[in-house]
């Protein structure tokens, strides 16, 4: 019954308007190259301070879902993915546009995104409720192992260099130790600053790392950003799929949704990976793989169903375990924090209204995406034509005022520090998401490990022999070593094939 009350809550006009606004703003962030749902979420967290917790989280989760879809508009019309999640969509979407079938391609993207997202919401409702019940039985040792598993997945985030991701995660873990130690009450790395006693302020840090640093990076590029190709968008009209067309693509959409949901649940792996894997799997399953890349419907339906499903499913570990499933959900923690909420299983007990309203909101948001795609595509396309200097100026103003709005002068200073750090990280190709994951997971890792060791009288072996802990740590080890094992296997294969006689 709680779920029905959640739906009713999300459908209440005072909340529904935030779902509509969230999807609309999200599609804008997704559609404009250079902006993405993560930047949008980080940038707009400060304005949600004025909303109620339900309104704030409905707005931001809808923004996230809208943003994941939004990238596909420019991917299909201009072959310029508005966000990384839509990279695979452009492979078959743009050839369809070239054939004069842009409206149909957009229709497939909208319907697949909506169906994929809706199926994932159903899984999320069922799974996160059960997972939260299990998580309530977890002790410090299990939480430590869970956080290690969450962190071990960072090696797959945003860069080809696993070492750089791990360095970023360690920097995040170190930053999480700033302030008063939760167990001994001793101050660490505060350098005499009172504002650092409570630790690194999370929201200014994410605004600096994800939004301001991106502006500095783009503004300081020697080459000006290329303008999007001038396609006659006045003629573009979205054509929704008929029931017959949906049924023809049912297995593609279903496979995409399952792959997306599974990948979304894995901590640290996001919607971009889901769309890539879904596309490659669809090529494998297809009877005519050679047609992929020439503008076929399956090439749009598979990645679009997967990326929206992954975006929704990333909420499962966030809500039920307190472990973010993607970069954007790590940023979303900021929204919970400014409203005095703590993500994790206790949220289902203390704030069940809120949790079920989020589920209801996500369900509705997937339908709003259809409306947005159907009626406002031309508007979103016009946004792409706004020159980047104007975008950059608006974003930077938002970053500074937003950080100031959330706290004091120190919040803005911290935002600048993280913006400069993020700028250099971007320049030297260090991904920023692992830093935020480290910052989020650091306190869980540290306090859980220390408490678990105190309970076992500092016997680390005792801690490892707990079944759930052992399984989770084993999975973490596999996840950490998988890329290296893969490289070793391919290296060995190369050696064998070069060996005389082969």
């Amino acid at each position: 019954m709680e779920i029905l009350s959640g739906f009713a809550n999300a459908l209440d006009p005072s909340n529904l308007i935030f779902v509509l606004m969230g999807v609309f703003v999200g599609i804008c962030f997704g559609a404009v190259p250079g902006l993405d749902p993560t930047t949008g979420t980080a940038l707009l967290i400060p304005i949600t301070y004025a909303f109620s917790p339900v309104q704030a989280l409905l707005f931001l989760t809808s923004l996230y879902l809208g943003g994941v879809f939004g990238g596909s508009i420019t991917a299909i019309l201009f072959k310029v993915p508005g966000s990384s999640e839509a990279v695979m969509t452009s492979l078959d979407g743009y050839p369809m546009t070239q054939r004069g079938e842009a409206g149909k391609a957009l229709g497939i993207a909208i319907m697949s995104s909506s169906i994929g997202g809706t199926l994932a919401v159903i899984v999320t409702i069922v799974l996160s409720t059960q997972l939260a019940k299990v998580a309530l039985q977890f002790g410090p040792a299990e939480y430590f192992a869970l956080a290690v598993l969450g962190l071990s997945c960072v090696s797959s985030i945003g860069t080809n260099s696993q070492i750089k991701s791990l360095i970023g995660a360690c920097v995040g873990l170190l930053l999480a130790t700033v302030g008063i130690d939760a167990i001994t009450g001793v101050t660490r790395f505060t350098f005499g600053s009172k504002s650092l006693l409570s630790g690194i302020a999370f929201v200014p840090a994410i605004i600096g790392l994800f939004a301001a640093s991106e502006v500095f990076n783009k503004v300081s590029q020697k080459q000006e950003l290329e303008a999007v190709e001038n396609v006659d968008t006045e003629k573009v009209k979205t054509k929704l799929m008929s029931l017959k067309e949906i049924l023809a693509l049912k297995w593609t959409i279903l496979r995409g949704s399952v792959i997306g949901t599974w990948i979304g649940i894995l901590p640290g792996v996001g919607a971009t990976t889901a769309s890539i894997i879904s596309y490659t799997q669809e090529v494998r399953f297809s009877k005519h793989p050679e047609k992929f890349g020439t503008g076929i419907q399956e090439g749009i339906a598979a990645p679009e169903a997967a990326n929206n499903a992954a975006a929704v499913a990333a909420m499962i570990p966030l809500l039920s375990l307190g472990i973010p499933g993607s970069g954007t959900t790590a940023v979303l923690i900021g929204a919970f924090l400014i409203h005095g909420l703590k993500v994790g299983p206790l949220l289902f007990i203390n704030n069940s209204d809120l949790v079920y309203s989020i589920f209801g909101g996500m369900f509705i948001a997937n339908f709003v995406v259809v409306l947005g795609g159907l009626f406002a595509v031309r508007f979103f396309v016009k946004l792409v034509k706004i020159p980047y200097p104007i975008m950059a100026t608006s974003i930077m103003s938002f970053c500074i005022i937003g950080s100031l709005a959330l706290g004091d002068v120190n919040g803005v200073l911290l935002m600048f520090v993280f913006a400069v750090v993020g700028f250099f990280m971007g320049h030297y190709k260090y991904p920023t998401t692992p830093v935020i994951l480290g910052l989020v997971l650091g306190p869980i890792l540290e306090t859980s490990l220390r408490r678990a060791l105190m309970m076992t009288e500092y016997n680390f072996i005792d801690l490892l022999t707990r079944p759930i802990t052992a399984v989770l740590l084993g999975l973490a080890l596999i996840s950490l070593l998988a890329p290296w094992i893969g490289k070793l296997i391919s290296f060995a294969k190369d050696k064998t094939s070069n060996f005389p006689g082969h």
Partner: protein, 161 residues
């Protein structure tokens, strides 16, 4: 490649300094085994190990003279970066003296200029519209107590909010 090496060496020195700092944390006898420095030291040792590994990889690349094609799109103008940073920081700094509205108008004009915008129409219209939107959002809708400035600027701000 050389830049990566410099960054890694800098990070290593910084990590070493932080490691040294962990020994200056106040010790509490009850937590002798796992005091406040226990966890930061684990993280720092792991971090230093990773950085050393990254340095070895970079040195090996340099010895092998692995050619790396520079991505033209990634070429950065530090001059532009510093200008953008100074203008943004200046905005935050002068806001308390001239108030939110005037500081925002001036900042946005300058930030557009730093990005190479020279059309007077854009330099005037964009800040006017954006400042108005931010004013409505942050002051009229969210009631945020943004700086009003001092002296004559305060009097001007008080006319607006």
């Amino acid at each position: 490649m050389r830049g990566d090496l410099v960054i890694n060496v800098f990070l290593l020195l910084l990590a070493g300094y932080f490691y040294k700092l962990t020994y200056s944390f106040k010790q509490i006898s009850k937590y002798d085994v796992m005091g406040p420095g226990f966890w930061p030291r684990i993280v720092l040792v792991f971090l230093m190990g990773l950085i050393i590994f990254a340095i070895v990889i970079e040195i090996r690349k340099m010895i092998k003279k692995v050619s790396q094609e520079e991505d033209k799109n990634q070429k950065i103008s530090y001059k532009k970066f510093i200008f953008a940073l100074v203008v943004s920081f200046g905005y935050f700094f002068i806001m308390r003296y001239v108030g939110f509205v005037i500081a925002t108008l001036v900042f946005q004009g300058m930030f557009l200029f730093v990005q190479g915008v020279r059309q007077v129409k854009i330099l005037i219209l964009t800040p006017s519209v954006l400042t108005l939107l931010l004013f409505i959002l942050f002051i009229k809708l969210m009631y945020l107590p943004l700086p009003k400035g001092i002296g004559i600027f305060r009097s001007f701000s008080l006319l607006l909010y």
